[in-house]
């Protein structure tokens, strides 16, 4: 049974130059209508019995682009379909400087207990270059505001290897970030995605991405500084104090099922991964007809399920446990991936302790190479499951 819920708010006041998620410029009427449709969608899936979920995550887009009335409407909807008292972790993504005390008031009233701040970089020139609509000063204010309301479970998101960014520059951002001593940090290397401003600039040769050497060094430095600050590197891009790991994101890495609501959201239910319709008007139209707004469904075969168990699980510091694997699939991964595991161990990319395999620090640098090794060829898969 899925115990995690993702809700997508596709509106933004500014469109960032790197972002390829489902998003559009905020518009009050559209947002009102969208929230109604979100209500319909949740009712189609959840009906009248309140869902017992462990984690709820409101992402975007920018959830805080909604005004406080709309935010309240959204949270009411969520409370209508989900038993919030049972929820351990209820996260909302927020942009620094974009919301007021009233917002925070609403958040706490309806059970939100974790805020993920899209900080990205702590330098106004760089924020400008990314087309973020906040400034460094806003981060300070926002953190203070949240803490005043006892919303202390705060995470900050960062992007590194930005155009023209030096290793020193990233170090400065990291230092400033760690000064806040928040319980959770995430950091992602910039990825140039199609249909973004950066992609266009990249194609025109106008985007000065740091060389791979620098990017690698930034990651090494990031890991070192987080470790010194006592933040545990519990997943490739995530660092946290003990007990403050993101439960919601761990559900993804643990290969669990989850609901997804909203335009362009990705869900995983009844052995099927699905993606919702985007953009917003397609999503709306489908719900107006009373239909689930699904664009595409992809049944996950046993083979794919196994592969995902491995390449998602290996993202975590704790890696994948064979005991768990056997319980789930009735076969040991040591048998299924015999030659791969031997090879990766020889390379020093994975370690194998207590019937559990996980990435080494070297292996982490080449995570994709490790993950791709766990995609099964038909023959080896069939051999293992011929009975």
């Amino acid at each position: 049974m899925a115990q995690s819920v993702y809700i997508h708010i596709p509106f933004c006041h500014e469109i960032c130059h790197y972002c390829d998620f489902a998003k559009m410029y905020y518009n009050r009427e559209l947002a009102d209508a969208y929230l109604d449709h979100l209500h319909t969608e949740m009712s189609l899936y959840l009906g009248s019995k309140k869902l017992k979920a462990r984690t709820v995550y409101i992402g975007g887009g920018t959830p805080t682009s909604l005004n406080e009335k709309q935010l309240e409407k959204l949270l009411k909807t969520i409370n209508e379909f989900i038993d919030i008292k049972e929820v351990n972790e209820f996260t909302i993504e927020a942009n620094p400087g974009e919301f007021l005390e009233e917002h925070v008031n609403v958040m706490t009233n309806y059970g939100i207990n974790r805020v993920s701040l899209g900080v990205q970089v702590l330098d106004n020139d760089f924020l400008n270059m990314l087309n973020r609509n906040h400034a460094v000063e806003d981060v300070n204010q926002t953190v203070n505001l949240l803490q005043r309301y006892d919303l202390t479970n705060i995470s900050m998101d960062f992007i590194y290897a930005l155009p023209d960014q030096s290793i020193e520059h990233f170090k400065k951002t990291l230092k400033l970030a760690l000064d806040y001593n928040l319980p959770h940090y995430s950091a992602y290397a910039l990825q140039i995605e199609p249909r973004t401003v950066f992609h266009l600039r990249h194609q025109q040769g106008k985007l000065n991405k740091p060389p791979e050497e620098d990017e690698a060094e930034m990651l090494e430095m990031l890991m070192d500084m987080m470790e010194q600050a006592g933040k545990r590197h519990y997943e490739i891009s995530n660092y946290a104090d003990k007990g403050f790991e993101s439960q919601h994101n761990l559900a993804y890495w643990n290969n669990e099922e989850y609901y997804a609501f909203g335009a362009g959201a990705h869900g995983y239910l009844n052995e099927e991964r699905y993606i919702n319709l985007r953009p917003v008007n397609h999503y709306n139209q489908s719900l107006e007809k009373g239909e689930k707004p699904v664009l595409h469904r992809e049944p996950i075969t046993l083979k794919e399920n196994i592969e995902e168990e491995m390449f998602l699980g290996l993202r975590k510091a704790e890696g994948v446990s064979d005991l768990n694997f056997q319980r789930k699939f009735g076969v040991s991964f040591y048998e299924l991936y015999k030659s791969e595991i031997t090879r990766l161990k020889q390379k020093g990319w994975i370690k194998d302790e207590h019937s559990r395999i996980s990435l080494t620090r070297d292996g982490l640098m080449f995570g994709n190479e490790v993950f791709a090794s766990f995609l099964l060829d038909e023959p080896s898969y069939k051999r293992a499951f011929r009975n």
């Binding site: 950091a187 992602y188 290397a189 993606i275 995902e308």
Partner: protein, 605 residues
């Protein structure tokens, strides 16, 4: 059985046209107007059956279609429309298919006029004594200039263009007149049904159940199902199992006689036993002489084809056997490369031919290939006086054993509008060409003739020509013989090891520059490995260029993508797939493109 009267009413013809002058569209209209196809059956451009042909808009394989036409004189005629390939690489096949005809429609674009390639094929048609009917097509175009094109036909080809048919195949204009003129202008096939049989094979293809399907034109006598036939060149005999014609779908017949154009099967299993240009006769009453014009074609360009997956070697052999049958000009023999393992060194008529064969192997036979850079045949005179042919650069003897290296030259004829004479001459000079001649065809058009090493033509000469002349140049070439050149073998070393499949032969004057270019190019093409990979270019023991592919430092997807696991999976699958397409040579993974890179020389590099 055809009566004499019937033979009188047969017309065998083909269509000669430059690429995109509208041949396929015209063929379609003729099929339509003779009701060979219902509208529903009518796929656009019916004669170009293969996907590849359709995509490239050119005809590779020959086809023969039988049509019924009731002429204005009230009589019923049987037409055989024999389609010809439209590219410079396929001259021999064009000449064989023309040999099956008595006449040809010469289709000229009303705006662009005659192109060099059309000219070459018209000469082939005249050599075969064909009656030529000029058709000026695309008269609907705003830029059409019928008078100029007529003048050009008279000046360049020397045939009367006064009664050229004005047509627009696209709009169906002029088609009736074309059909009538086929009846009135093109002679009926001569030949005597009582004479010993001679049938020309002008194409063939392979069917796994029926064996070879030969496309034939009966020139003398007749063939019946059950006859013992003999191939006059290969001297093999077979029993005819099936005869038929294409209407355009195959229709079985008991007998084919003089003037008939159709197909024949005879349980011919061996691909080499039915060669284009060969003459079929009857085993018990053979003709004295085969039809003239048979040639075993000599390839001009060679390259190595290796399966990416070594397990596909036998499939690749089979694919080549099949293709050779369909394409008499393809040659191949086994080759072993230290870098690439077992494969075949294949000979092609030209580069387009090479590309088409590669694509067909990948597409129709589903074998992934690594192709080495194309090479020509070098003549090497050794110090001991022996002369050897080298078609594989890695087999070039050591410099100290070589007295002289000679390379093939072609006589290249480039036809361009006046304004582009400068750029064309510049390209030819850069390609080590020797000026031969220049003729003005009219006040606008010039024929420029150069002798150019074939090795310089094989890669991007045509592309450069097109880009420097805004697409106006047309180009034809024929082998003009061997000349001594100051050539050296360049080796490429990756991680300290010579990669034989990357060796190539280059003029000494260009060696330094090319070595540097290629090292840089490989640096771009070969992805970072787990370790640093030095790239070196060497002549003999002397390293002339060196660069380094840095070690991979980081490859991990950190981005969260929300819960979009499918996307992560696709990324990983792509990475794994990409690895499969690479060849592990020593410790280095090399992508397919790298092996072709040695001849790809953009000068801005």
């Amino acid at each position: 059985m055809l009566t004499e009267n019937k033979q009188k009413n047969v017309r065998n013809f083909s269509i000669i046209a430059h690429i995109d002058h509208g041949k396929s569209t015209l063929a379609d209209r003729i099929l339509e107007d003779t009701k060979a196809l219902t509208q529903r059956e009518m796929k656009e451009q019916f004669l170009d059956a293969m996907d590849l042909e359709r995509e490239r808009g050119i005809t590779i394989k020959l086809n023969a279609v039988q049509l019924r036409y009731q002429a204005n004189d009230g009589e019923d005629y049987t037409f055989h429309l024999i389609d010809t390939p439209g590219h410079v690489d396929f001259t021999y096949e064009v000449s064989r298919s023309l040999a099956a005809c008595e006449g040809a429609l010469l289709v000229v674009d009303a705006a662009q006029g005659i192109e060099a390639q059309t000219l070459a094929n018209v000469y082939l048609a005249l050599d075969n004594d064909l009656e030529i009917i000029p058709v000026i097509n695309k008269i609907d175009l705003p830029s059409a200039d019928v008078d100029r094109v007529k003048q050009e036909i008279e000046d360049v080809i020397g045939i009367d263009a006064d009664d050229a048919i004005l047509a627009s195949a696209k709009d169906g204009v002029g088609i009736d007149e074309i059909l009538e003129r086929i009846v009135s202008d093109i002679p009926a096939p001569e030949g005597d049904p009582e004479e010993p049989t001679k049938a020309l094979i002008f194409d063939s293809l392979y069917d796994p159940y029926r064996g070879v399907i030969a496309y034939i034109c009966v020139k003398e006598g007749s063939i019946k199902v059950g006859d013992q036939i003999k191939m006059m060149q290969t001297e093999k005999t077979f029993e005819v199992t099936e005869l038929g014609v294409f209407k355009p779908n195959p229709v079985a017949k008991d007998e084919l006689t003089v003037g008939d154009v159709g197909f024949l099967t005879a349980s011919i299993k061996n691909v080499g036993d039915s060669r284009v240009g060969d003459t079929i006769t009857l085993a018990n009453n053979p003709a004295d002489e085969p039809l003239s014009g048979y040639k075993r074609l000599n390839p001009m360009v060679y390259c190595g084809l290796f399966p990416v997956d070594a397990d596909d070697y036998n499939d690749l052999r089979e694919a080549l056997e099949r293709l050779e049958l369909n394409d008499s000009s393809l040659q191949y023999e086994p080759e072993t490369s230290q870098a690439l393992g077992f494969g075949f060194r294949c000979g092609f008529l030209g580069l387009l031919h090479m590309e088409i064969i590669q694509e067909r192997i990948e597409r129709e036979f589903n074998i992934e290939l690594i192709t080495t850079a194309p090479s020509v045949i070098y003549e090497v005179e050794l110090t001991d006086g022996d002369v050897i042919n080298i078609e594989n650069p890695s087999l070039m003897p050591e410099a100290k054993n070589i007295k002289e290296v000679r390379e093939p030259f072609v006589r290249a004829t480039v036809m361009v509008p006046n304004d582009f004479v400068g750029p064309v001459m510049e390209i030819c000079q850069k390609k080590r060409g020797n000026y031969v001649d220049m003729q003005y065809l009219d006040e606008n058009r010039v024929n420029i003739v150069y002798d150019i090493p074939l090795s310089e033509i094989v890669y991007d000469f045509f592309d450069q020509l097109k880009s420097q002349t805004k697409g106006y140049a047309s180009f034809d070439y024929e082998l003009s013989g061997y000349q001594p050149s100051n050539l050296v073998k360049m080796d490429i070393l990756l991680n300290g090891e010579t990669i034989d499949a990357l060796s190539f032969i280059v003029h000494r004057d260009f060696a330094f520059h090319r070595g540097k270019q290629i090292a840089e190019k490989l640096k771009k093409l070969i992805p970072r490995q787990q370790f640093e990979v030095p790239v070196q270019a060497a002549i003999g023991n002397k390293i002339i260029a060196r660069t380094t592919i840095k070690a991979m430092r980081k490859n991990v997807l950190s981005k969260c993508y929300g819960g979009d696991v499918s996307r992560k999976r696709k990324l990983l699958e792509k990475q794994k797939e990409g690895k499969k397409r690479m060849k592990m040579v020593g410790k280095v993974e090399i992508p397919q493109e790298a092996f072709m890179s040695v001849l790809e020389m953009d000068d801005d590099n």
